[in-house]
């Protein structure tokens, strides 16, 4: 049996060991032929901008790019749902030869007349980068005619990885920020960045902040609105979730509008509480009662959550998990969350982590944990088997790898339809882990059948 690790990738895989300096290679182009789980620049920008519900999202490219991203995410809107349609200029052969600018202009005009969006985002794809359509010029022209912002998103697929797409998205959003009226925004106000309202999660978070006495100006981009983005610079603070997606926007807003930012994660007990306390601390001079209200809120929520977790934990104690997600920041929260369930994380990796991220992961995981950057099915399946984990946390592409090996799975990616953020989300997460890990089906899978039979024999003997 040949080893499954590509020689070119050995320095992107590490096992933690105490007392050793941790180093890992990352932020490289994916290896040709390695079946990376990563997508592309276009994907990165689409993920970030897509939840803006009253904007028109037009993919300038062949039909596939739009079809594959049509309504696959669980980003909910409390109002308009224009974002759930995936418009495409459907480039054909003759457009590639003669250029697609006319087609793009016609599509924009038709769609803007038909749907009357507040703004339009035009995503460029690989092919547009190659044939050299002048997106900027077309967008400018249509914007002038229609009187709405028409914003090009420079997201040619081959120009890097998902991370480059995040940057393109942030640059696109930055063209809106600062163009709206900020009157009426109270001093204790924030923007929520980097949350996409999957399964309505942003509504949970927003409610927490509002209970504390903080007004949320813009949710970027979950349940997002163009007008909110325009006035986002009126907020006192940006709270940024996730390791990469909207960090660039926070930085740009800081340098251009002086808006400070702090980072947050809404997953798990510690990180969720910290996200609230950090904001309370930021406003404590203006509102001395806020810390108290926040503590009360956290206590109230934990009083409901902890007894439930205790029951679940009894069944999960000592089990192990593997994590492979898009951004590494989420992985930190997951490692801590599993600890609350009495579980150990034996494998953890991400598509786009930085060296700092991986160092942090090495620091918070147990000795012997496998840490991996930009992995692929062969490696992931090997790690799962080797560590004999009970559950794998990932996205839809990772699901069949787990299931084929007789391992439970939890979808913790953009496509999830179950709210996992906040205290309520932690309970949902615990229940989902419990549901899959304790299912009787695993005892029938070929890989487990032997070991279950052995355990039963052992128990019968003793």
């Amino acid at each position: 049996m040949q080893p499954v690790i590509f020689e070119q990738r050995t320095d992107q895989i590490r096992r933690t060991a105490t007392g050793e300096d941790f180093a890992i290679a990352c932020n490289r182009d994916s290896l040709a032929g390695a079946v990376s789980q990563r997508a592309c620049v276009f994907c990165g920008s689409r993920v970030v901008l897509y939840p803006i519900a009253d904007a028109l999202h037009l993919v300038h490219g062949p039909i596939g790019c739009a079809a594959y991203t049509w309504d696959i995410r669980g980003a909910l809107s409390s109002g308009p749902e224009l974002h759930r349609l995936s418009f495409s200029t459907d480039l054909r052969e003759k457009d590639v030869i003669f250029g697609g600018e006319k087609k793009l202009e016609a599509a924009l005009n038709e769609l803007i007349d038909r749907h009357e969006p507040k703004a339009a985002f035009v995503y460029s794809t690989c092919i547009v980068g190659i044939i050299g359509d002048d997106l900027q010029a077309v967008c400018k022209k249509v914007a002038a005619q229609k009187g709405i912002p028409v914003i090009p998103v420079m997201s040619e697929g081959f120009k890097g990885n998902k991370r480059a797409g995040y940057e393109a998205a942030c640059q696109a959003m930055m063209r809106l920020v600062g163009t709206g009226d900020v009157s009426g925004i109270p001093p204790m106000s924030i923007n929520i960045l980097g949350d996409f309202n999957l399964a309505g999660e942003i509504w949970i978070i927003k409610e927490y902040y509002e209970r504390m006495g903080v007004r949320v100006v813009a949710t970027i981009t979950g349940d997002g609105r163009v007008d909110d983005l325009r006035r986002a610079h009126g907020a006192a603070l940006n709270v940024v979730q996730c390791s990469g997606a909207t960090m660039d926007l926070a930085r740009m807003m800081q340098s251009e509008h002086g808006t400070p930012f702090l980072r947050a994660s809404y997953f798990g007990i510690e990180d969720m509480s910290k996200a609230l306390y950090d904001v309370a601390r930021f406003f404590k001079d203006q509102d001395p009662g806020m810390m108290e209200r926040t503590a009360a809120l956290v206590q109230e929520e934990l009083a409901v959550l902890l007894p439930e977790l205790k029951k679940i934990r009894a069944d999960l104690e000592g089990r192990t998990a593997a994590i492979y997600v898009g951004g590494a920041f989420k992985a930190f929260s997951l490692v801590k969350s599993f600890r609350h369930l009495g579980m150990r994380v034996a494998v953890v990796g991400s598509q786009t982590g930085t060296e700092e991220d991986y160092k942090e992961l090495a620091a918070i995981t147990d000795e012997g944990t496998i840490i991996v950057d930009d992995s692929n099915p062969l490696e992931l399946s090997q790690f799962i088997k080797e560590m004999d984990v009970d559950i794998f946390v990932g996205g839809v592409k990772e699901r069949p790898i787990a299931y084929k090996l007789g391992v439970g799975f939890c979808d913790h990616n953009h496509e999830r339809k179950e709210a996992l953020e906040g205290f309520a989300g932690m309970l949902n997460f615990a229940r989902e882990v419990h549901r899959t890990v304790t299912s009787p089906v695993w005892r029938f899978t070929p890989r487990r059948r032997g070991s279950v039979a052995r355990t039963m024999r052992k128990e019968a003997v003793s």
């Binding site: 040949q2 499954v4 590509f6 182009d29 994916s30 290896l31 040709a32 032929g33 390695a34 079946v35 990376s36 789980q37 990563r38 997508a39 592309c40 994907c43 490219g61 062949p62 039909i63 596939g64 790019c65 079809a67 594959y68 991203t69 049509w70 309504d71 759930r84 459907d90 480039l91 054909r92 052969e93 457009d95 590639v96 794809t125 690989c126 092919i127 980068g129 190659i130 044939i131 697929g157 081959f158 120009k159 890097g160 990885n161 099915p377 062969l378 399946s381 090997q382 088997k385 839809v396 592409k397 699901r399 069949p400 790898i401 299931y403 084929k404 090996l405 007789g406 070929p446 890989r447």
Partner: protein, 437 residues
Amino acid sequence: MCKPLGAALAFMGIEGCVPFLHGSQGCATYMRRYVISHFREPVDIASSALGEKSAIHGGGPNLKLGLLNVMKKYGAGVIGVASTCLTETIGDDVSMLVKEFRKEFADLPLPEVVHVATPSYGGTQAEGFQAALRAVADQLAEDRRTSPQINVLPGFVSCEDIRHLKDVFEHFGLDAAILPDYSERLDAPAQADYVKISEGGLPVSRIKAMGGARASIEFGRTLDPAKTAGGLLAERFGVPLYSLGMPVGLRETDAFFAVLEELSGRAAPRRHELARGRLVDAYVDGHKYLSGKTAVIYGEEDMAVGLASFLAEIGVRPLLVASGGESGRLTRAVSEVTADILREPPEVRQGVDFYEIAARARELSPDLVIGNSKGYRVLARDLNVPLIRVGFPIHDRFGAQRVQHLGYAGAQVLFDRIVNAVIDRKQTDSDIGYGYI
């Protein structure tokens, strides 16, 4: 969807084959994600993962490195390379690059490398699927001595359909080489280990033997033999081609069985006669639930034609048959299969998107819609009518691989589902909530 996706699926039907997209990483990842949600199976599609430099200087080095990696780590016997819009436009000559690859690494045990040009802007997934099969036949089939093999080119059907076809040929005592055969590869059993290349698929030796086969059977009334594997095998090797409609429903299956009887020289085995008889019996038992009902059909052209034929014969009037495909043959094919039952053929729209289909469907207000999952929100939910999910993709229901469309058995499954959908709607909408309907 897009052309390389169809090619990747076709390549999955070859034993030991890893599909490989020559383009940027995203294409392969998106397509894997899309296919996984339908089949719920691991689908490893490799990519040459081109970056900006390759886009400028050409993707040759990455293609070769990628082929080498897939060969080494997956142990692929065949690599099916499909180009993408990116590599077609920067002008990569895949055929030449593959030749160079073979020469450069001649000392290694190289896999078969089949390549097909599938720029996404050049057609639909169905066309990519057919183009890949033609490329496979073109690059692998050899002129061999006559074999009893029958080449079966069923088109893009479900795993269950392929399994059913295997059974049917076996019952007739015919040796079928089904291309593609992803019935095992994309619907594999639970395994003890992660299998790098799922088992199953048509072996390369059988593909090579296609040139000497007794006959080819190709399903699809909108296909142009000048662009299909069946057409190529007929032209180059003189293999007689039976070009049939997709055997959906009674009459199209009858036509298929007539060919099987001719090729095997025997009458249909009793089990199929019984299945046919039961189907007609069910048609009678259920006719009143359906008679006079209307439907909108959408999806890939050949499946849509089969469904139009089937609906017409069970008394459901297809009002509109719509497809994103643009073969130019859809109108004629639909009128051919419905002519002897419907007074006038249904309206046919080709090259349309869901917005246009939905707009027309609202005017027609059908009793049900039939097609893939993509029509749920914009058609079925909006019109408040049942959606019978068939074809690809089905990612909002469970068991897509096991949806059966073909043969008497497939017609039986579809018929029962349609009748039950109508009964369910009647029951739900009823003020009384009848327990017996």
